[in-house]
Symmetry: C2
Subunit: 320 residues, 2 copies
């Protein structure tokens, strides 16, 4: 995917906003700083423990806006419906989108629907784009990450990917794993408004925590070190990953954020995150150890050091 972006899309669409390598663009329009982002959701199956494609399509895009420092405001919805999708299911998903939008104070204001023949789609694909307002003075960006920053995560990782996989593969784990699918906009807003100098925020979706750390390491030109023992993970997720031969650090979350901020503000930031129900499990997991060429190293529980590479392919396709 990164290669497709590097070789096909970036050469065609090079722009200052894209080269900032945010999850969303920050642009000036009408005298204000706006965040603008888009995501297409093709998750299979459409319903999974803890969520559905509709809820995911709201929180995913709201979270991308929040990761730029913006307050999410308005969403668009673009549906591609394969002929034969039951109307009742579409209604259920639309209502799930509405409930999710209400839960995080955003509004759907425009939409579009296309119907394709049977066999030319897969039930339902949803695109949501979103816009939000970036408060004056907020400057959150990958290039602001620097040596001395601490790396925080707002809760346990890997749940979303495992939850989707469990239904897709009809796996019965002893303890069922629920997706963490949730909006992190309030967590981000609380961090920012508490005066913490947040350098960068990122939600660890596709590619999981390892992908986020690699992207930031590359884009900021730094070396990242994280401690396996500090990374929150549920035993059920760990168990499922062992069974399936997956590395949980590469498994998607949909309700977590990773924050990069000055080491000295770690405790205040953790307190701010833990003050919110969705940030109870927040932890400091590592630090920016120095300038670098984009390397990420994990210190394992055994004390050994392991490089966390960018995967060349997608470990789990269609989980979002």
């Amino acid at each position: 995917m990164r290669e497709l972006i590097e070789h096909v899309f970036l050469p065609a669409f090079d722009s200052a906003a894209l080269s900032a390598r945010h999850d969303g663009a920050v642009v000036r329009l009408g005298g204000a700083s706006l965040a603008f982002t888009t995501d297409t959701y093709v998750v299979h199956p459409r319903f999974f423990p803890g969520g559905d494609i509709g809820k995911l399509s709201v929180y995913g895009t709201v979270n991308d806006l929040a990761m730029t420092g913006a307050r999410p405001a308005y969403l668009s919805a673009g549906f591609i419906v394969e002929e034969g999708l039951p109307i009742g299911e579409l209604q259920q998903i639309a209502l799930s989108m509405r409930a999710a939008a209400d839960a995080c104070g955003v509004e759907f204001v425009t939409g579009d629907t296309k119907v394709v023949d049977r066999g030319k789609g897969d039930g339902l694909f949803i695109n949501t784009a979103g816009i939000g307002l970036v408060p004056e003075g907020v400057a959150i960006a990958p290039r602001r990450v620097r040596p001395g920053d601490a790396v925080l995560v707002s809760g346990d990782v890997g749940r979303h990917g495992i939850a989707v996989l469990s239904v897709r593969e009809a796996l019965a784990f002893e303890e069922p794993v629920e997706s963490d699918c949730a909006p992190v906009a309030e967590l981000a807003a609380a961090l920012i408004s508490s005066g913490i100098d947040v350098h960068c925020l990122r939600d660890p979706t596709r590619g999981g925590l390892a992908a986020v750390l690699n992207e930031i390491a590359l884009d900021a030109g730094v070396h990242v070190e994280v401690e396996e023992a500090q990374i929150p993970m549920e035993p059920a997720v760990l168990g499922a990953c062992e069974l399936l031969g997956l590395d949980p650090l590469y498994v998607a979350c949909e309700g977590r954020l990773v924050a990069f901020l000055p080491e000295a503000q770690t405790e205040r930031a953790l307190a701010s995150l833990r003050d919110h129900p969705l940030g109870r499990g927040a932890a400091r997991i590592g630090r920016i150890a120095g300038e670098g060429k984009g390397s990420v190293v994990l210190r394992t529980r055994l004390g050994t050091r392991r490089t966390l590479d960018l995967l060349s392919g997608e470990q789990l396709p269609r989980i979002c």
Copy 2:
């Protein structure tokens, strides 16, 4: 489609912006009026005389923004790629999008790509969302259309649908029909900035001119009368429609606008439109004849009167 919107999406997503029934939403953010719109493009085939899915995905969304009175500014792109799509074709389409964006002064600032298995898509679907700035004082909306308004169209109708159909069905017409696929933002901006009191603008895409007239008639609560002899149509389009048993008034355009404005300003508006290469063929095609319940009547060349109904199905699927 209208029923799907009425029964599934509007009940779930009711909002003031949606109930304005624009092609795009107009919202307040950061102290300014912004237009925000989305469209998904599933046109089949992806290349057609006069354009391709990439060019269409830019102009279609730019035109929707322009129809709210906004100056289009930024676009997002969401790709759903079916496994097996040649990378070279994707590159060609991305470059076509970039060229189209450059041609109308908008910029792609954010994007997303998802890959689905072979057989779960149809080569390529593209969503573009767009944002633009609505100048202060501009108030363009279906509800502003009133008895006494003239109805203008910026050029000949029906070309896009016929162009797509000609390649899809491998039809060889004596005269090949090229899509009218083009941006109408400059036409709209010229009308507005010349001080004409434009009540409403609409681009006659899916469902063609007849659908636009019906939508406006319903949403504004008026009765519309149009004159067949005044509606610009290319002989090649008319010939193709006769051959295929299609009514050209229901065939999509992708580079035309329909304007509703005070009768007394008709000549000035026509002059403004014709001053631009894309508006050379502009014509006054009818008027808002009175209050009403959404009826649209065509006076035919023979002098008879025919009701232009909303079609219950899509005459031509996947033309955009």
